[in-house]
């Protein structure tokens, strides 16, 4: 089923496609960033495609990507090699998963986004569900979605600095809202706990 979608996509938008692949039965299409909105619009409106149901938006940060034990001779996918500063490969990949209610097929769109210019066109105008999903991706990865109606943090608070799901954000770097040293002394702890 996935091959059919990819073939149709290739026939209609050959110029917008960077590459196509299938992994574990999931169809994946790499789309050029400037054509993403056009391709997505077509995917939603074309009756043979009819990707009416949005599934999710997320992002992959390739900063620490060093795959091990990759089977010889099998390319994992176009960006399989380690990401480095010098290689010039885009650090982020924005991932859109789509589903068609009528045809039951699924498709994953990917869009490579460089670190210094981390923005993609927003697809929330096509699928309202992507409004919050894109906000989440912005919150976690700092990807700016152009033309998004309401791009602000969703899980974290406004005071939070940085984007926690980026690989260079340390897992335990907390940014407390309530300062701990303002606290009243806890007599129970001072007393040493104790039971009965």
């Amino acid at each position: 089923m996935s091959a059919k979608v990819l073939d149709a996509l290739k026939a209609a938008h050959a110029g917008a496609i960077e590459s196509l692949e299938t992994q574990h039965g999931d169809a994946i299409a790499w789309i050029k960033r400037d054509q993403l909105l056009a391709v997505a619009t077509w995917l939603r409106n074309d009756p043979a495609m009819a990707f009416d149901a949005p599934v999710f938006v997320t992002c992959i940060d390739r900063l620490d990507w060093k795959p091990v034990d990759v089977p010889v001779g099998v390319p994992v996918y176009p960006h399989s090699a380690p990401w480095t500063d010098e290689s010039g490969k885009p650090r982020f990949e924005v991932v859109y998963q789509l589903r068609s209610t009528t045809h039951r097929h699924r498709l994953r769109l990917k869009c490579a986004v460089p670190e210094h210019d981390a923005r993609v066109p927003s697809l929330s105008s096509l699928w309202p569900a992507f409004n919050w999903q894109e906000r989440e991706t912005f919150d976690m990865y700092g990807i700016k979605f152009d033309e998004h109606p309401d791009l602000r943090r969703i899980f974290l608070y406004e005071e939070f600095v940085g984007y926690p799901l980026r690989k260079d954000y340390p897992k335990e770097k907390r940014q407390p809202l309530v300062r701990r040293d303002d606290l009243p002394i806890n007599p129970i702890k001072a007393e040493g706990g104790g039971h009965r």
């Binding site: 992994q23 574990h24 009416d52 992959i60 940060d61 034990d69 994992v76 699928w127 919050w132």
Partner: protein, 424 residues
């Protein structure tokens, strides 16, 4: 603060243009007594009638909600970041705590994505698959029982809450016998399940189901034609089928809106093709339909469970593959080979080949998916959870629009937003 009222060419005030509501001079006498300004009301993040913790900043016109800014994130426990620092097996406890009302289904979803990446999807022993379906359906029942019970309580039907909680308690005790934990089971493993069903499980579950049927009848008797309940639910928070599709709604909410989408039927996994069940579909998409769909799903779950009990074969519950299966304890303690394998599995994690996959199951709230990028080590390079609650909550602002403040409660109850899953 009064909203600015700058008349435009048509003579209508800015407020009227923006809000579509009557201007002050058009109001009747009684209406005029109310303050004409919009008021901001804060609900949450710790509000008694909110499942989980979410904050809504309501803009109200009298009692009527004209806008709501829904702010999730108060239970953002960083599932994805934690997963990136844990082995594939260690992620199971984190998945338990995503949708903590139906943890077994989350376990299954996580196991399935790892199995998909390892090419094990079709290798899982039949008995393990049946056990997974059994515990998933039991989890789905606890989910729906909690959702309906809590929502009914919020509308004043405390007895129903107690009845349904009683039934849920039976399920918990049974699941505790199966997995060892009442709530956070971590029972499913990559390649099968942790251990076989306990002795007497068939009889216990059959008894439990028989009793649950009675409890359901009791609960339905109290709710279905209850005037208060119907008045509070029917016509409230309605959603059209088209909206349900476009906003990504799945599960009972989408089905109540007439969208016939159930992962168990549309993208069958595990042994669901081998059991018979129906997918209830509503018509109006309002809270009452959501309630009815959930009640019907409870009955269908019972039906599935009875079939599974009849069909479940004997056999192993773990795939015989050294990449994922732990060696038996006896061998681990006595041979260096098994010791090393056990050690590698636990300390380095199950090594999942590099690649990416998206696997999804029908969770208590609909399509629950895991999108995982693996880099060949024992941990996921990236683990994204497609949580239905998050998607459903994003529609909340639209659903509560135009309803009374009091209606926010049943709407939220029936969206069944689960903090752990929604905020990840």
């Amino acid at each position: 603060m009064a909203a600015p009222s700058i008349p435009d060419a048509s003579g209508r005030s800015l407020k009227q243009l923006v809000l579509g509501r009557k201007d002050v001079q058009d109001l009747s006498d009684t209406e005029q007594e109310l303050a004409p300004d919009l008021m901001t009301v804060n609900m949450g993040p710790s509000h008694p009638a909110m499942h989980g913790t979410v904050r809504i900043v309501l803009t109200v016109d009298g009692e009527r909600v004209v806008a709501g800014d829904v702010q999730p994130g108060y239970l953002h426990r960083c599932f994805e970041k934690e997963s990136e620092h844990a082995t594939f097996t260690q992620v199971f406890p984190y998945t338990d705590r995503l949708n903590y009302v139906s943890p077994m289904i989350n376990n299954c979803g996580w196991a399935m994505v790892a199995e998909k990446l390892m090419g094990l999807t079709n290798e899982i022993p039949k008995r393990a698959e049946y056990i997974r379906v059994i515990v998933s359906e039991m989890s789905r029942m606890t989910d729906h029982l909690t959702c309906i019970g809590a929502s009914a309580m919020e509308l004043g039907a405390f007895a129903v809450f107690l009845f349904f909680l009683k039934a849920r308690e039976w399920m918990y005790e049974l699941l505790e016998k199966v997995s060892g934990a009442r709530l956070t089971h971590s029972y499913v493993r990559i390649g099968g399940v942790g251990k076989d069903l306990p002795d007497n499980f068939h009889a216990d579950l059959t008894l439990c189901l028989d009793q649950t049927v009675k409890v359901l009848a009791e609960g339905e008797g109290l709710l279905n034609n209850n005037k208060i309940f119907r008045d509070r639910m029917a016509g409230i928070g309605a959603m059209s089928r088209a909206d349900a599709i476009a906003t990504g709604c799945v599960g009972p909410i989408a089905r109540a809106a007439g969208l016939d989408y159930d992962v168990r039927k549309d993208y069958p996994y595990s042994v669901y093709p081998e059991v018979e069940f129906d997918v209830p579909v509503g018509t109006t998409g309002d809270c009452y339909d959501r309630y009815l769909v959930r009640i019907e799903e409870l009955k269908q779950s019972i039906r599935i469970l009875r079939q599974c009990l009849a069909q479940i074969p004997d056999g192993p519950v773990m795939v015989n593959d050294h990449r994922v299966a732990l060696p038996p304890k006896q061998a681990t303690y006595n041979t260096i080979e098994s010791m090393i394998r056990h050690f590698k599995h636990i300390m380095d994690g199950i090594r999942v080949p590099a690649g990416e996959a998206y696997a999804f199951v029908e969770g208590g709230n609909g399509e629950l998916g895991f999108y995982v990028v693996a880099d060949g080590t024992g941990r996921p390079y990236k683990a994204y959870v497609r949580s239905p609650s998050f998607v459903h909550l994003s529609t909340a602002a639209q659903l509560i629009h135009g309803h009374l403040i009091a209606d926010v409660v049943p709407i939220f109850g029936m969206i069944n937003m689960i903090g752990g899953e929604c905020d990840k």
